[in-house]
């Protein structure tokens, strides 16, 4: 897999064929296309984690509503800011709606300017071929003081890789076409946790 450089990124973003295009909607400033990455901006919607007084998150319980209750949806207009306190975690998203064609994949990583003040931007960094949506960012302040987050600012960068061939296998997971930060769909993996319980039973009873 080769990393797309500036010219290749520009070509992918401007491909007249929508099916082959790396959609970046909107690309506000062409200067976002760097030597080998594309800067992406912070969106206006956030999901802030609440402190709750009931049981914690158990994917095995399969309670999707519980995950929703743990988070509060907040909109911050352009020009305003949201303070992220030390140790605080919240979900944001890229301002840009991104769509990867089936022959491209990518990684989203923080920009060093933010990293140097303690901001972690993404933990689940892989973007699969065929993914479409505003990328959800997992924002954590690992620094010692609060950080103001401004929607619209360049928050992360995207490294885009060309796959050796177009396999036709594209992303079809739990997060299809989000247009803002998506809550975790971990509870949809309940079947896998039940399977683990079955396996544990078999291990105990195996002779």
């Amino acid at each position: 897999m080769s990393l797309l450089h500036h010219e290749a990124l520009t070509e992918a973003i401007k491909d007249p064929n929508l099916d082959r295009r790396l959609v970046v909607m909107p690309l506000i400033d062409e200067a976002q296309i760097g030597p080998a990455t594309l800067d992406v901006r912070l969106g206006t919607e956030f999901r802030v984690l609440r402190r709750i007084d009931d049981a914690g998150l158990d994917p095995g319980a399969g309670d999707e509503a519980h995950v929703e209750r743990m988070q509060e949806h907040v909109t911050v207009p352009i020009g305003e800011s949201l303070w992220l306190h030390p140790g605080q975690f919240l979900l944001g998203s890229t301002l840009e709606y991104l769509r990867f064609p089936s022959h491209l994949g990518g990684y989203v990583v923080g920009r060093s300017s933010w990293g140097r003040v303690g901001l972690l931007v993404a933990t689940a960094i892989m973007v699969q071929p065929g993914f479409g949506g505003n990328l959800t960012l997992e924002l954590v302040n690992h620094g010692e003081g609060p950080i103001a987050l401004y929607p619209g600012c360049r928050i992360a960068q995207l490294a885009v890789h060309a796959l050796p061939g177009d396999t036709g296998h594209v992303y079809g997971g739990k997060y299809v076409g989000p247009i803002g930060p998506e809550v975790s769909r971990l509870t949809k993996e309940r079947a896998e946790i039940e399977k683990l319980a079955d396996v544990a039973d078999k291990l105990k009873s195996a002779t």
């Binding site: 401007k14 007249p16 929508l18 959609v23 909607m25 909107p26 690309l27 506000i28 400033d29 206006t44 909109t75 207009p77 352009i78 301002l95 709606y97 769509r99 479409g132 505003n134 619209g152 076409g177 247009i179 803002g180």
Partner: protein, 392 residues
């Protein structure tokens, strides 16, 4: 906040001056007069408080960010650049507009000029339609009432209309009919017809402004809103929806929208044109008012065209096609391959795409308005398009 501070200062200044006078009242009779005035002051304060119920909505805007930017831009372009727009969800089922609601109350006691700052326009929208992004263009009609008021459009339209000899003659005949029907004196009958003339003219101007500014988007939203009721029902303040639709179609045709409306939703377009061509006859002053709207339609169009000037939306096939392609791929449209997209084209593109997907006939209108997928794409598209336009 600046308004509230200015309002507080105006009230405080008034109360202080009155209190100083009350403390020095010389005799019993004056003191009784003072008590009466203080009671009035309390009632005035209560009225003032009830006129400020919209303030709560400032901290919790009822619309998504994209629609908020969309409506605010329209208000700045059409009313005044320093307008301060507040959108308030209301339990009522209809839309309404108020401008500077406290200014009249303050003027009863003090000098309204003491309230400085931007012009406040409050738009109430039905709470149940808070999330219906495709219906929010109806707010443009409400904003247009403020445009009429600020720029004297209704007055100018009526002055021009009353220069028509035939109109004055038919006005007299309508007043005679009202006099006979309601058993009232000449003057009261004339006032009834004049009030209808004024209200219907303003409604027609507001429809025209919304149609010029938004293109067919406003027509589609309007038809969804009136489709469930009797489209021939007219009131003393509003013309029958069938006539309003006819006028909007005329405006849109004059602006060159017909081919696009026909291409994306041909059966709906035919149904609308057939419907407006087959309306019932109206009686007495309603017949006069309908005739008046038809007679003055061209003048109103010229008036609104001059008022909006470069803010009229012009048809752009290529942009709408590109928006349609993006929506079909599930991508919120905010930018074309050659640059920015006007947020109004985003709104129209979403309507046309939803109509086409729902079959493009009259039954597709409510289906399109309720289509869940398009709402998110529209609000995100509006938000990002506004940002891209403001960035350049």
């Amino acid at each position: 906040m600046r308004h509230l501070t200015a309002l507080y200062d105006a009230v405080e200044s008034h109360v202080r001056s009155r209190r100083a006078e009350f403390l020095t009242l010389p005799d019993e009779a004056s003191r009784i007069g003072g008590v009466i005035e203080m009671r009035s002051l309390v009632r005035w304060a209560q009225e003032l408080q009830s006129s400020l119920t919209w303030v709560d909505a400032i901290s919790d805007p009822p619309l998504d960010l994209g629609t908020k930017y969309f409506i605010e831009l329209a208000a700045r372009r059409l009313i005044t650049p320093d307008v301060d727009l507040v959108l308030v969800p209301a339990a009522d089922s209809s839309y309404a507009t108020y401008s500077d609601p406290y200014r009249k109350i303050v003027s009863e006691w003090g000098n309204p000029a003491t309230i400085e700052g931007d012009r406040v326009t409050i738009v109430f929208l039905p709470r149940r339609e808070q999330r219906s992004a495709l219906l929010h263009p109806l707010i443009l009609h409400e904003l247009s009432h403020a445009v009429c008021s600020d720029h004297g459009l209704t007055r100018r339209a009526l002055e021009k209309a009353m220069k028509r000899k035939r109109l004055r003659k038919r006005f007299g005949q309508a007043a005679e009919a009202v006099k006979a029907r309601d058993n009232v004196v000449d003057q009261e009958a004339a006032l009834t017809v004049a009030a209808g003339l004024r209200s219907w003219t303003e409604e027609a101007i507001c429809d025209a402004i919304a149609s010029f500014y938004l293109g067919p988007t406003y027509l589609y939203s309007f038809v969804v809103e009136v489709l469930g009721g009797n489209i021939d029902r007219s009131g003393s303040t509003h013309p029958p929806p069938r006539k309003r639709i006819a006028l909007m179609l005329d405006h849109l045709d004059s602006l060159g929208w017909a081919p696009i409306m026909s291409r994306y939703a041909g059966p709906l377009d035919e149904w609308l044109r057939h419907s407006v061509a087959n309306g019932p006859a109206y009686s007495e002053e309603r017949d006069f008012l309908v005739w008046m709207l038809e007679t003055t339609a061209s003048d109103l169009r010229s008036l609104v065209g001059r008022q909006l000037d470069s803010h009229s939306l012009t048809p752009d096939d290529a942009v709408l096609e590109e928006i349609d392609e993006l929506l079909a791929a599930g991508i919120p449209p905010a930018q074309s391959h050659i640059g920015t997209i006007d947020p109004r084209s985003v709104s129209l593109g979403c309507w046309l795409h939803a109509l086409q997907n729902a079959g493009g006939d009259i039954t597709s209108l409510p289906l399109a308005a309720d289509a869940s997928g398009i709402e998110g794409l529209l609000s995100k598209g509006l938000e990002m398009a506004a940002l891209v336009n403001a960035w350049d």
